[in-house]
């Protein structure tokens, strides 16, 4: 454990240098973030929280369990972060240098690329089918959700264009990254996407505490519908992909209790694929909005430029694609003795993916200071989010997930 901490501290301190952060502050803050988050994970693995099957209850000699599975540790990390943000705001401020959910989840997604490749290697046809169906998510997020949320914000709530556009992108596309990209593209003041991003993170907290359990209850017989739905409904990369992890764990446990043992990796892989597909187009969509705004709405000499597509492209997607291709190559195109060792190697890397998920959940919690957001006047913005989320984002997401993923099941284990 100490070696893992030291290795992560070294690697992430190098990343902090690249991000022009104060390395000494980062190292101290990361130490607190790592150990608190990891302690939450350990608490979440306590048998009374994590045990699922009657056999496990018997094995640990306990009469009850919350049946959260081991992934319930994510929820404990989130709650620990929420407590720090809302009860100990000064401590939250002290560790903010290492509270970077976007950095942690993007590293986790890059690792996930290799894991998904090895999972997909045995069932390439199914994996290809899932990728093709991911295209539906792009259409939904950019063309349907965005237009409706923008209309609701402008027409029903009277927001001006500067607030409505980043808000629509934050709620409909991909939370933080999309709100910031749109804010920059339409030349909004920096405070606008920052406040919208905070709102998205708070709602992601609420969603990740509720939706995986709804998915387990109502969609456990359609695991990939549940996976796509989580990817479409939860609006930040971190919460959505980690929420996919919780959903996978809950559904696999429920299915196992019913005598069906699915291969792990497919639910999480589907959620991540849906999210990555959506992320790919953030730069293009921001350019489209920027072009319209700077040429037709707020005509300015600072016109939107094609180069901005590249500037706003989320580069971590290259990492995901590269690890996916390397994983696929190692699993399919190397001699049998090497290929046989790949799943175990990816399993080791997957341990780090889980650690980055924990750090992500904890960081999201620490960023969610409800009192502060309320004081900033976020109530009206939140009303748009509530109406959009419960009015149609969840339902349209469910309908489209059902339309494209119903009947497609993950392979059985063994």
């Amino acid at each position: 454990m100490l070696a893992t901490y030291a290795a992560l501290l070294a690697v992430l301190s190098a990343a902090a240098v690249a991000l022009n952060a104060d390395v000494k502050k980062f190292a101290l803050a990361f130490t607190a973030v790592f150990w608190i988050a990891y302690a939450s994970w350990v608490v979440g693995s306590y048998a009374n929280f994590a045990a699922v099957t009657p056999a496990e209850l018997q094995k640990f000699g306990i009469g009850w369990s919350l049946r959260l599975t081991n992934e319930g540790g994510f929820i404990f990390a989130l709650i620990a972060g929420l407590i720090i943000a809302n009860v100990f705001p000064r401590f939250a401020e002290t560790i903010k240098e290492a509270v970077r959910p976007e950095l942690y989840i993007k590293i986790a997604i890059v690792i996930l690329g290799g894991f998904f490749a090895v999972t997909a290697a045995g069932k390439l046809n199914l994996a290809t089918s899932l990728l093709l169906r991911g295209a539906a998510a792009i259409v939904e997020a950019y063309l349907i959700y965005w237009a409706v949320v923008y209309f609701v914000a402008r027409k029903w709530f009277g927001f001006n264009r500067e607030w409505a556009a980043p808000l629509a992108s934050g709620i409909s596309i991909c939370g933080v990254s999309a709100a910031i990209a749109t804010g920059g593209a339409i030349r909004a003041r920096p405070v606008v996407p920052v406040l919208v991003s905070s709102l998205v993170v708070v709602f992601a907290v609420v969603e990740v505490l509720i939706l995986p359990f709804l998915a387990q209850t109502f969609l456990w017989q359609e695991p990939l519908v549940a996976a796509a739905w989580i990817g479409l409904a939860i609006k930040t990369d971190g919460a959505a992909v980690a929420g996919g992890g919780i959903t996978e764990s809950l559904i696999l446990a429920k299915s196992a209790a019913e005598g069906v043992n699915y291969q792990p990796g497919w639910i999480l892989g589907t959620t991540a694929t849906v999210k990555v597909f959506i992320d790919v187009f953030i730069g293009i969509w921001a350019f489209v909005l920027g072009y319209i705004w700077t040429n037709h709405i707020n005509v300015t000499s600072d016109k939107a430029r094609i180069a901005e597509i590249w500037q706003r492209f989320p580069k971590f997607i290259f990492g995901f694609v590269v690890t996916f291709l390397i994983g696929l190559y190692l699993a399919l195109a190397t001699p049998a003795d090497i290929a046989a060792k790949v799943p175990a190697a990816i399993g080791e890397a997957n341990t780090f993916r889980v650690i980055f998920f924990i750090l992500t959940f904890f960081s999201i919690g620490v960023l969610s200071n409800f009192k502060k957001l309320w004081q900033e006047g976020i109530g009206k913005l939140a009303a748009v989010y509530v109406i959009s989320l419960f009015g149609f984002v969840i339902w349209v997401g469910l309908l489209i997930s059902w339309l494209f993923f119903a009947g497609i099941k993950p392979p059985l284990a063994g």
Binding site: S129, I144, V191
Partner: protein, 51 residues
């Protein structure tokens, strides 16, 4: 910008009517999205997932 400034800005912002270009953007997005969804649904129907 202080917290109070943002709060009052959000509460007291003068209404900005939808411009024709915004209406076009909303209509074009929704229209294209619905058409593409139907096309993808048809593709999904005629080219089912292979296991």
């Amino acid at each position: 910008m202080s917290q109070a400034d943002i709060r009052s800005e959000l509460e007291q912002a003068a209404p900005e009517p939808l411009l024709p270009v915004e209406k076009k953007l909303i209509g074009f997005s929704l229209g294209t999205g619905l058409v593409l969804l139907v096309v993808l649904a048809l593709l999904n129907y005629f080219v089912p997932a292979t296991f």
